[in-house]
C-alpha cells in the first residue's frame, strides 16, 4: 500500500481511489490494538461459565431441545472467541463481512447436503 502516495516519484495506478488508500492506511494503524489482560481474563471467565451452563442445561432432559440449546450456547461461545481472542471486534468491517460470508457458506453446505439426502 502506498501511504505516502502524494510524495511518490512513480505513478500509483489511478484505479485505486485516494480515499481507499487513506482508509487502508487507517486500518494499518488500527491493527495495533492492545487487548488488556483483564479483558482477556473476563472473556475466559465468561467462556468457562458458558461451558458450565451448557453441561447443566444438557443434563436436564429437554428432548430435542437439548441439541438446539447446546448448539446455541456453542455459537455464542464461538462468537466470543472470534470477537475477542481472534480480535475480529477490533478489525475493519470488511473482515467481519468475510467471516460472515464463510459461515453462511458453511451453513449452505449443510443445508444442501440435507437436500441431497432428502431427494435420494
Amino acid at each position: 500500500m502506498a501511504p505516502g502516495r502524494f510524495n511518490l516519484d512513480f505513478l500509483v495506478p489511478f484505479v485505486i481511489p485516494n480515499n481507499l488508500i487513506i482508509y487502508m492506511d487507517a486500518q494499518n494503524h488500527h491493527e495495533n490494538h492492545v487487548t488488556s489482560y483483564s479483558t482477556l481474563a473476563k472473556v475466559l471467565i465468561v467462556l468457562l461459565a458458558l461451558t458450565f451452563l451448557t453441561i447443566t442445561v444438557t443434563g436436564i432432559h429437554l428432548g430435542p431441545l437439548t441439541v438446539a440449546v447446546a448448539l446455541i450456547i456453542a455459537c455464542i461461545k464461538g462468537g466470543i472467541v472470534i470477537a475477542w481472542f481472534m480480535h475480529l471486534k477490533f478489525e475493519s468491517p470488511i473482515f467481519r463481512y468475510m467471516v460472515f460470508g464463510v459461515l453462511l457458506l458453511f451453513v449452505l453446505i449443510i443445508v444442501i447436503t440435507f437436500f441431497d439426502y432428502a431427494f435420494r
Binding site: I55, T58, T66, H87, T113
Partner: protein, 168 residues
C-alpha cells in the same frame, strides 16, 4: 455427514453418546479455553514488550495442549479397553447408528488431535522465536497468526464437545 446421520439414527446416537465420558470432555474444554486465553495474553505481553511473560504464557499454552493430549490418550485408551475401536468385533455387533457414531467420534476427535499436534509445532517455533528476539513488540505477525490458528482449534472443540459428549 454428522448432521445427516444424527438425524437418521437419533436414538442410537443418544445411547452411544452415553458411553462417552462428559467429565473428560468438559475437562478438555476447560483446558483448551485456558490455553486459548493464554495465547491471546501472550500477544498482549509481546505488544507491551514483556518478553519473559510472553514466554511463560506460550509455555502454559503448550503444556495445556500436552495435557489435552494426555486426557485424550486415557479417554481413547479406556474406549479401546472396552473393545470400542474402529474395526473391533464389539463395534460390528452394535446397532448401525451406534457404529456410525463411534466412527464419527474417532474421525472427528482424531482430526482435531492432529490439529493440536500441528498447533503445538507452530507454537513451539513461536516460543523459540520470542526467546531469540525474532518476535518482538513491532513484529509479532507470526505470533498473531499462530494464535489465530490455536483459537480455531479451540473453536472446533467448542462445537465438537456438545455434539459428541452432551447429546445424551
Amino acid at each position: 455427514m454428522y448432521a445427516i446421520f444424527r438425524n437418521q439414527y437419533s436414538d442410537n446416537f443418544h445411547t452411544a453418546a452415553h458411553e462417552l465420558n462428559a467429565f473428560v470432555g468438559a475437562l478438555n474444554t476447560v483446558i483448551l479455553l485456558i490455553s486459548s486465553a493464554t495465547v491471546a495474553m501472550a500477544i498482549t505481553a509481546v505488544q507491551k514488550g514483556n518478553k519473559s511473560l510472553a514466554l511463560i504464557l506460550v509455555g502454559i499454552t503448550l503444556s495445556m495442549a500436552l495435557l489435552f493430549l494426555i486426557n485424550k490418550y486415557f479417554e481413547w485408551g479406556h474406549k479401546i479397553h472396552l473393545g470400542i475401536y474402529p474395526g473391533s468385533e464389539l463395534l460390528i455387533k452394535l446397532e448401525h447408528g451406534e457404529l456410525l457414531f463411534f466412527g464419527l467420534y474417532y474421525f472427528m476427535t482424531g482430526l482435531h488431535v492432529f490439529h493440536i499436534f500441528v498447533g503445538m509445532v507452530i507454537l513451539s517455533v513461536i516460543f523459540f522465536k520470542i526467546k531469540s528476539g525474532k518476535i518482538h513488540a513491532t513484529d509479532y505477525v507470526l505470533l498473531e497468526n499462530g494464535g489465530l490458528y490455536w483459537h480455531l482449534v479451540d473453536l472446533i472443540w467448542i462445537f465438537l464437545f456438545p455434539l459428541l459428549y452432551l447429546i445424551t
